[in-house]
Symmetry: C2
Subunit: 322 residues, 2 copies
């Protein structure tokens, strides 16, 4: 939620000579993106976002992220289109960091999503899954169960500081998820972080998906489970069944879940909640208070973990025909 790297006008002017986007008219750092530095550029050619990739993003992953946006945009998914340099490259360098220019999307993220928004998100997620099917690159999900486990190893000794008994509770979750995690579900490209701040709307119409910097290959239904966590809980942690029904129905109107995916939804949602609990818990315990990374309360995801633990079947999420 900050600009980590300031850039000078001379650095930017030199960087822009590689691009065919006109004369620079203004650039302003925006308070978005928890991992990277972002600027809105105005040029005589229009508006763009300049992203500087900070250390939390692996340089080797950038061709996947940017190639995916290009692939999806070319298939009609409303997402930022990376702007190629004159030499055809999508990635440049500025202020010692890899950087890319992408198109500016109209719309804004909704702070108070309704069921209508959730339905649109479900449809867009399914559309992304279908459009990603023939994307040629592959990226392992670094935040798979082994990834959560690694974060947990750096946090478990102090977990009880967050809540007494938490360490034992989470250990039991890991045991259960390890035993129940599905082995064979339809896989493909997933967004993996489709939270409300990564979906733009204009009114009730979804105008774009952004921030593909966690995208990877994994179970498609896991992505939907993450959306259940991200979109269907209220601020008081109550589960809004109307929103969940809308999300799931929207998804299934474009891509029908098979029986195995439907059956796995509770364990996937449980795992997804644990994944976000792990990153938040780790940051909570390890990130210095003065740092610019925003620390979010891990308990928000502990509440979700506990909710999903008690779910018997996907029909409890409002999934039709499960």
């Amino acid at each position: 939620m900050a600009v980590y790297t300031d850039i000078s006008e001379t650095e930017l002017a030199s960087f822009l000579t590689e691009y065919d986007i006109g004369e620079l008219r203004s650039y302003r750092g925006i308070a978005e993106g928890s991992e990277n530095s972002n600027y809105v550029l105005h040029t005589t050619g229009g508006e763009f976002i300049l992203t500087l990739y900070e250390k939390r993003v692996e340089r080797a992953d950038l061709p996947f992220f940017l190639g995916l946006m290009q692939h999806l945009a070319n298939k009609g998914i409303s997402c930022p289109l990376p702007v190629a340099r004159r030499d055809g490259e999508l990635i440049g360098n500025i202020a010692g960091r890899p950087a890319a220019i992408i198109t500016f999307l109209e719309g804004f993220w909704v702070r108070r999503p309704t069921a209508a928004h959730c339905r649109e998100v479900g449809k867009a997620l399914a559309g992304l899954h279908l459009a990603g099917a023939d994307f040629s690159l592959h990226r392992h999900n670094a935040m798979d169960m082994a990834g959560w486990r690694k974060l947990w190893e750096g946090a478990c000794a102090r977990a009880d500081e967050v809540e007494p008994g938490l360490a034992g509770e989470i250990e039991a979750d890991f045991e259960r998820l390890k035993a129940d995690w599905p082995q064979d579900l339809p896989k493909g490209v997933i967004h993996a972080d489709l939270f409300p701040d990564n979906v733009f709307f204009l009114g009730d119409r979804l105008s774009g998906l952004i921030d593909f910097y966690f995208a990877c290959n994994d179970f498609l239904a896991y992505d939907l489970a993450t959306c259940l966590n991200a979109w269907c809980f209220e601020k008081d942690f109550s589960f809004n069944l109307t929103k969940a029904k809308a999300l799931l129905a929207g998804y299934q109107s474009i891509r029908k879940l098979d029986a195995e995916e439907a059956a796995a939804l509770p364990v996937l949602a449980h795992g997804s909640a644990l994944r976000f609990l792990m990153t938040r818990l780790y940051d909570w315990l390890h990130v210095a208070d003065g740092a610019m990374v925003q620390k979010r309360d891990p308990k928000e995801y502990l509440r979700r973990v506990r909710f999903h633990r008690a779910i018997g079947s996907a029909s409890e999420y409002g999934l039709d025909g499960s």
Copy 2:
């Protein structure tokens, strides 16, 4: 350098019904402004800045700040123009805070100003002083010597933590400035914070002045002295006489300093450096490390204070004819 207050789309939509600026197309928080929350709005009517005034800004001062921008813009000074609501008011309310919409200025602040930039700043500052002469509202400079003294009283006991001996050194500065401070110089509306990040350029052309939230009535030459501090020192604290000559000549090409103003320039520059040292020192000692207010090293201004202390006459700054 952050957005302190997030606003929801419903709050914003309701706020915008008071304005005639078209349909909202996007809004994004920008990482600018050390005291307020700022958003770039795109509407079908164009681009605007929405500012939410946070607690460091007195609500009672807003008519002065916004009225001044309106006054200056109407006189041809390139600065943001406050957009009036349908009912004629310049100030509304959103998320429990007073807020205003101002026009978006093209251009960007220069991280590495040249002498050419300094000349333009001098000219623009003088233009602002002339244009402000018939502005009807009045605002006392809250950061006058009594204001610095108040900050000092909250910092002096711990000043030696920053550098041993600092407390005594600053006490002597106060004594000297109290004795030498001019009583009677031309007064008027001053910007009072015309640092590089508050001046936009397009190439070498100055495209606008922003951030009038310290503007007040005080000695005009004091504003110029602040620009000497803000524009003419290098990162290694060396004083760049070429830049200072350009700044002063640019100013004098539009408004000639009188003999008393020229003679007072060293004490005004000394006082201005002490003023910024005081706010930085106070924040350094008092603002919690986790807070969103950016803490800047007070020593940057201690170095300037020491420089000006040794100046005998304004000719040492490169002032012609002094």
